[in-house]
């Protein structure tokens, strides 16, 4: 379908919603988002199709600022009368907020109102790929995995999203965009002897995800990797548990290091969290506003950028949900904290402008400070990869592919579980361990980084399940990371 043609009804809807605010007394600022999202999810298990779901959700969210307090109302009913009543409700909610204001007045930054359009570059819209083709693609992968002797079962899945957003504000912002995302993966299971082991390809949480077309799903080559993935799942049944060891040398595979970035840098540098807005639920951060420019977050090897323009990444877009154009913003430079993830409200509070990380997960939710593609830079030597780092390690442990994650309410004390662990002795990868965990404290961990893989070892991993906020929202974000070497406690049980 022609993207411009696709966008027109939503543009009319958002314009109508903005019009519904006209004449409402007391509104100092308002924005509207009309959103239509189409989704498709396909799951297979062994030779069965376990489930196919196609969904559509459309509606309008109206956000209003009255006397320095926010109100937001959203409706799936897109008729003019419903839009007007929703606008009035948003205004009335904002008025109610002023009753518990504590002398605080929300100020917005000076971001100029943007006008523009954006569409994800893609070759083949994943929502236009025939279902039978998707099913056959996944079943070929599970068939390949089932060649592994001892495998209990294998699952494969693919998810596709096409989100159209039309944003308008009373300041004159006028933005329309279409973001197309896709991904998938394999999960191989082996059960026996009191153990149930799982091995995923290319990553856990349903695989690898990106913005783009079906071609990026095909590039994962699930079938080509299925047998190896399944074979390792079976091997884990006979592997010993990773032994406990304090202050171990730890090599983290790229996808696990991406999640470490997510939990202990991405969330920790969200300015709304730092300012206490998430205190009661997701928690705060050990980072303080005053730490900008002064906190040594990691070793000199550690540099992190929040970049919504990374080509093909899951957290890539043209404009955030406050109409701010996509940014690339340094967060950590050579180990020093230099920036935060901000929206127009939090940035204004520290005298800055938003770096475009306000995102909502639907028309029915408000934009929160969210990650885009928050990526750890690769090391300087392009030729260094996992095998070179193993060869450079005398005594350590390699952990790969996340199984579980937990971090405290200030993003400091963490513990992760991984699907596989390998002993490293004298530069050689040794025995396989199962049920591997590692734990540590955030700054200790990042300051211990003494080696990173180079550009060729660097992958942007999509994280499609980032939860935050009340009511809960789920964002699709990403993190580039290479293999990295650190120190931590391993084998915690």
């Amino acid at each position: 379908m022609d993207p411009i043609e696709l966008a027109q009804p939503l543009a009319q809807l958002s314009a109508g919603a903005l019009e519904s605010l006209s004449g409402l007394p007391g509104v100092q600022y308002a924005d509207v988002r009309a959103v239509r999202e189409e989704t498709e999810s396909v799951n297979v298990r062994d030779e069965r199709v376990e489930g196919v779901e196609r969904g559509t959700s459309q509606g309008v969210g109206i956000r209003v600022l009255v006397d320095g307090s926010w109100g937001f109302a959203a409706t799936a009913d897109c008729q003019p009368r419903a839009l007007r009543s929703t606008a009035v409700l948003a205004r009335d909610i904002a008025r109610a907020s002023t009753a518990v204001q504590a002398d605080h007045r929300v100020q917005l930054d000076d971001t100029p109102p943007a006008e523009g359009q954006y569409i994800t570059p893609y070759e083949r819209d994943p929502l236009e790929v025939p279902l039978a083709e998707k099913v056959d693609h996944l079943l070929a992968a599970t068939a390949a995995a089932r060649e592994a002797p001892g495998l209990s079962w294998v699952e494969a899945s693919t998810d596709s999203w096409r989100r159209q957003t039309s944003f308008r504000s009373t300041q004159g912002a006028c933005v329309d965009q279409i973001v197309v995302q896709v991904g998938g993966g394999l999960e191989a299971y082996a059960v026996g002897g009191g153990e149930a082991q799982r091995r995923c390809y290319p990553n856990s949480f349903r695989g690898q995800f990106s913005s783009g077309g079906w071609e990026s799903m095909l590039a994962l080559d699930l079938t080509g990797h299925a047998l190896g993935c399944a074979t390792e799942a079976v091997a884990l049944l006979d592997a010993p548990d990773l032994p406990f060891r304090e202050d171990a040398v730890l090599l983290l595979g790229s996808s696990q290091l991406a999640l470490q970035v997510h939990e202990s840098i991405g969330h920790a540098t969200e300015l709304d969290r730092i300012m206490g807005m998430e205190r009661a639920f997701a928690g705060t951060s050990f980072v303080r506003v005053a730490d900008q420019g002064t906190l040594r977050y990691g070793s000199g090897l550690v540099s992190v950028t929040a970049d919504a323009t990374t080509p093909g990444a899951l957290g890539t877009f043209g404009y955030d949900d406050e109409g701010v154009p996509a940014h690339s913003s340094p967060i950590i430079a050579d180990g020093m904290l230099v920036g935060f993830l901000t929206n127009r409200e939090t940035a204004a509070a520290i005298g800055q402008c938003s770096n475009g990380t306000a995102r909502a997960d639907s028309w029915g939710t408000i934009p929160l400070v969210r990650m885009n593609n928050v990526s750890l830079h690769p090391g300087e030597d392009d030729d260094v990869g996992l095998e070179e780092l193993v060869a450079d390690t005398t005594d350590g442990v390699l952990l790969e592919t996340n199984f579980s994650w937990s971090i405290d309410d200030r993003r400091d004390n963490f513990q992760f579980g991984c699907e596989v662990a390998y002993d490293i002795r004298n530069g050689q990868r040794g025995r396989l361990y199962r049920n591997g965990t590692y734990a540590g404290r955030c700054l200790d961990f990042w300051r211990s980084c003494d080696a990173l893989g180079g550009r060729g070892d660097w992958t942007v991993w999509g994280v499609p399940n980032c939860g935050k906020g009340q009511p809960g929202q789920v964002a699709r974000v990403a993190h580039g990371a290479p293999t990295g070497r650190f120190r931590a406690t391993v084998g915690v049980r």
């Binding site: 459309q58 299971y189 009661a280």
Partner: protein, 448 residues
Amino acid sequence: MCALLDLAADALALDGCDAVEVGLTRSDVALTRFADSRVHQNVARVDGEARLRVVVDGSRVGVAVTNSLDHAAIRRAAEQARDIARVSKPDPQYAGMPSGEQAYSAAGRDDGDTAGCSAADRAGLVSRILAELPAGVLGAGYVETGRVERAIANSFGLTGSHAGTHVGASVLASSDVGGEDSTGHAEGGASALSGLDVSRLGARAARKVELGRRPREVEPGRWSVVLEPAATEVLVQFLDYLAFGGKNFNDGRSALCGRLGDQVCSERVTIVDDALSPLLPGVPFDAEGTPKRRVPFIETGVAVAVGHDRSTAAVAGTRSTGHALPPPNPHGPMPAHIIMEAGSTGLDGLVEGCERGLYITRFHYTNVVHPLRTSITGMTRDGTFLISGGRIVGGVRNLRFTQSILDALRHVEDVGRDVEMASDAFFGAAVAPAVRLTNFTFTSTTAH
């Protein structure tokens, strides 16, 4: 506005298929959020969902979903589900749909005051919470009210409908003056506003801030603990997730595999799923229309059952227990109205029975370490205290636990007489009492 069930008629008449199921939801939910003792987010959302499951050729299944609750959109979704089914593969585990009218019990409440709660009313509730906090103590949390209508119908004559209200609130009181670094939390929920005393939540959180000032550090290791209901609830919810689902059980991934009939917990522990209980907002049918009933999973410490939908029940050679989630649901059934039954000891009595231990208000960001061992890890937060000589003697810095749930529940010494509804970040609300247990394993500490 037409009744939800009326919207199903066109879809049920869809031709060219063997079976049609229509699940409908209409929701009107509002949430006021506060931090630094001011409202900073305040939202309302009116939404809907029509979920169509269509079966062709006996067992080819397709599902389509729309949030537009009008006849044309639902009809289009039904046709889309049929198109999906036609290109899908036969599913040997499709287990049919229930037929005929079902007998549904009453569940939850549909309370007019709760449904009509305005933003100004919620602001008033926030003010009542904050009024309980002393000077210098700031409040953060939320107040949510909502009404959700649900209906289900299928082409075999099954129909059901329900409307229920809910209210939830939490408060985190905090003081960070002069390095005192103290927080206290309280949370509650009910089916109607009259069932929730928000002032009491504020007062409880404030008391914890006072008790926790100048926290000391204690060594990790094995401790006796008194868990408040919100902390117990996390253990019970994760046990539900890991062990009570019929698909995990059929796959050999449940800790109850081969152990039904065994004593797996202390005899003081009984855990049921009961959507009909007045203790929580419930719905009288599951996503397949199977009537809800009280289903015990752990009875006086003995594992007695797991939860099934029609598909997993057929594989296991039993009947659905009414735990189907909305289709297509590759994760299988999961009980969603978990209750751990109360004991007879007051909260003070649980503390008095502990010579030396830790008092835990709630856990944070808990996750699975080992599914079959029911091993999980997470942090304490917002009210962690040292118990000495049967009384709370002061706050302690937070700790990380890494612990098998079944092992913990084997070491339960006493169970509180008062249950509360609390919510977990991953799983939503459940009901549990406070408990006292021994040998709870903490593996590290943190700086606050």
